[in-house]
Symmetry: C2
Subunit: 116 residues, 2 copies
């Protein structure tokens, strides 16, 4: 009943954060992030595709979504395209998931907006 609005997170902030969270809300995209995080180096699309066990075109689409959100960055070298994590926001989330694989799970991330 009493007004808590000064304590609440700005609706504007929530609206900015929600799409980033949405990007993480898909098993395949989480897998891509996890793979790139564990690899700790740029990876080419065919490797990412293989580790996902999904159709290349679908993986490519998901890579684009992640890139458009600024989570990934890519660089072409010859016929290959290397993807790497550009925004480490969601890594905390992955770490939490990993640490709780049996029983309770965790999700944690730090969403950077703008520069690193």
């Amino acid at each position: 009943m009493n007004d808590l609005s000064p304590k609440l997170i700005d609706m504007e902030v929530l609206e900015r954060v929600a799409p980033v969270i949405r990007v993480a809300a898909h098993p395949l995209r989480l897998r891509i992030l996890d793979y790139l995080a564990v690899s700790n180096e740029p990876k080419i699309v065919s490797d990412i595709t293989e580790c996902c066990g999904a159709a290349p075109s679908f993986v490519s689409q998901q890579l684009r979504i992640l890139k458009d959100q600024g989570i990934l960055r890519c660089q072409r070298r010859g016929t290959n395209v290397y993807y790497t994590i550009a925004d480490r926001s969601l890594l905390h989330l992955l770490a939490c998931i990993r640490h709780s694989q049996g029983g309770e799970q965790a999700v944690g991330a730090t969403i950077h907006r703008g520069e690193e």
Copy 2:
């Protein structure tokens, strides 16, 4: 190229976690969670509705989604229904968002599956 699959988070786990993250990927639902977290006590639907500035029917639907995922719990008392946080998984996420309102933002959560 080399096989990192033993280090990767199980696809099964990612598939279980993704829907919970998805539930958080909406500004209104984040607002509801934030409001209940800050209030730190059960709140009735009309209060939640007011703090959301959305149509009652829509808020009610979102409350159901959160309840169905086990994030919220509710209890009717007379003509009112009190909602409260049942699963503190996503609170870490809210805390991270709050701490980074200006500049970089953060998302963090611990997803409990099953009992508290």
